[in-house]
Amino acid sequence: MTYSTETLEQATVESMQRFSKRYLASVAVLLVLVIAGAVAYVHQLQDGLYVTGMRDRITWGLYITLFVFFIGASMGGTFVSAALRLADMGWRAPISRGAEYITVSALLTASLFIFADMGHPERAINIMLFGRWESPLVWDVYGLTTYLAGSMVYLYLAVLPDLALVRDRIGHRLDPIRRLFVIMFSASWTGHPKQVKALDTSLKVMTVVIVPVAVMMHTVTSWIFGMTLREPWDSPMFGIYFVVGAVYSGVGLIVVFMYIMRRMNHMEAFLTERHFLNMGKLLAGAGGVMIFFQISDLVTAGFKLKGESALNLYQLADGDMAPIFWTYIWVGLMIPLALMLLPFTRNIWGVLIASVLANVGMMLERYFIVVGGLRLPLNPYEPPDYTPTFTELTIVVGLCSLFILLLLIMMKLAPAISVQEMVETGEIEAVQVDAKGVVA
């Protein structure tokens, strides 16, 4: 098999037409889960947040945890697609499309988690009508809408030439809905030099714009916590800590998505071990910075042991939060780093396992930040407990399924690997080298 632009175009376009049994089965299962979540949400709307495990004192739970997690996932997507584009890293080419998909669908899911958590979701418009600039939550809402709009534009610009490719190649063979979609959104793209230049300029501008917006978004999310008077959240490092954590879990999530896409669309030729290993390096880098932050946080607080931060350390290291905290440290940070450092686990499976563990770890980290922070009593009473209820878990699972479902749908709307970027960066030649068994 030769690896030319021609075969790549063939492979990506063909994968859009192939609906394997496994794909359809996953869509069906996910749809069922999403509907179950919707039913649970209607139940919650009727009875109030009474149906969740949250009560006074622990007033935020899994919804806010998952909101922070998905904002983080979107950050990783931008980091891989835009920051690596800025740095002119050619190897990002087959990954960037998936990364952009993750950014958009993670942001949509994150905003739905906010709605799930509100006592009066129908009054969300009040934030636009009476929003106060002083409130970190207003920064977050405007940040999220800006970021969502920006990443959608960015995704669209990047996908435009590929949509035209689909239109020209198999437009007439597609089902009516997707044909309409492709014709509408490929916007009479012909690849004319003028068009190419305009698109190139717009993409460059959007790349420069979207990276700071992504960093801003996650910093502002951390400020929802950092702007309160609660000791465990009261840290100037919180913003940057959240951003690096976001890159860490986001990169991991992209690796998982890459793996699934590679298997599902038979893209082994274009997504080689080298791409996984490069992602593994990013993962190890972000994980290393996370460990560094964790140590500096623990040592400065642990040496002085003052006031409530001492109580927070007790509950993390030795108290009720200890299983979660230590799982995060060992399984979420240490083992992924070790997997990337040891030579015999430095392969696709190693990177995949490290990525899954990193995501589990980061979800636990978000959990003990949110719940552990609220759990510290500000008045003399026994620390309260929080156990998510079945309804709450159903809504969480439903929204997570929606995230995966969105990814699966997007996979069939446009080529899953950016043909245009592969050619532009010369990555198409690089994968030919990979095929000969020379791994970087």
Binding site: D56, L378, N379
Partner: protein, 331 residues
Amino acid sequence: MEPNSEIDQQTDTKPKNWDISRRKMIKMLGGATAAGLAVGYLPKALRAEPVSESAADLAAATSPESAERLRQWMMIIDLRYCDGCQSQGTPPQCTEACNMGHFVPKPMQWIEVYEHEMSRDVGEIKALDSATAPPVEGTKFMPTPCMQCQNAPCVNVCPVGATWTTPEGITLIDQDRCIGCRMCMAACPYERRSFTWGNPPTSPASDFVTHSVEHQLPIKKGVVYKCDFCPEMARAGRMPFCASSCPQNAIYYGDLEEDLASNGQEVVRVSEFLSEHSAFRHKEELRTRPRVYYIDGHGELAGRDPKTEGTMPVRWNIDIKDGSKNWERSS
């Protein structure tokens, strides 16, 4: 399609066109003006102003321009007299009276009496480090209403301006605007805010009250509630429920502007009273500037021995509406 090669061929053959027609220029100017106006108007449009009818009336009545004297409501709690109602053999009467008078739904307590250990800092708890804790040197009771901070963290974080500080210095909540995000509950360093997690179990009697932000009735689902400092009652010349029901007369309610406060038995000059007894405010180091002052003690003037621990749970005898949901605290 080979965009790659086409980029290479692409060169700037045409000079940049800087000629702008008059029509275009006018359009641009108009656009810039509109944008400028919008930017100028936005902060005003987005500014938090009470909208609901009762809130607007209140704003008019208490605006600094109104001819009447602007009250500055405040409270003094004399902990030397507070024995947590141990001598009465009843649950704390301030909490009970407040719950009854305001139809507070069941697990909420707008004024809550906490039992602090005297040997340790406020906010530190037995459970977390019981093994290393120093011997207990006795306890004191601390009735905790909303502190009515003048630099209120809850007001600062509310995204929709549903909670605000009135010119009289009271922080109120507009439950018709509250979106139920619970950011204020995370921000309050005194944990004085409660959320209605389900259909609130209140007395049917409270349904006949016209809604006002000053008494927060009838209680609704999915929004935040807290002590409102009884401004309506104060204006009518009545003491708040907690102050008038205290068997030891430990709670003084008054006006900082007039420099007078009363516990129902005697009237004190606030400035003198506070400095004489070196009063303090709860968590003063946070600079929230509360309007609730404490005089330190452990009920000694009510004859309480600080080694006597324990207070009884609050008694409930409001008849509860059918179909309402009761929820327990997560502690």
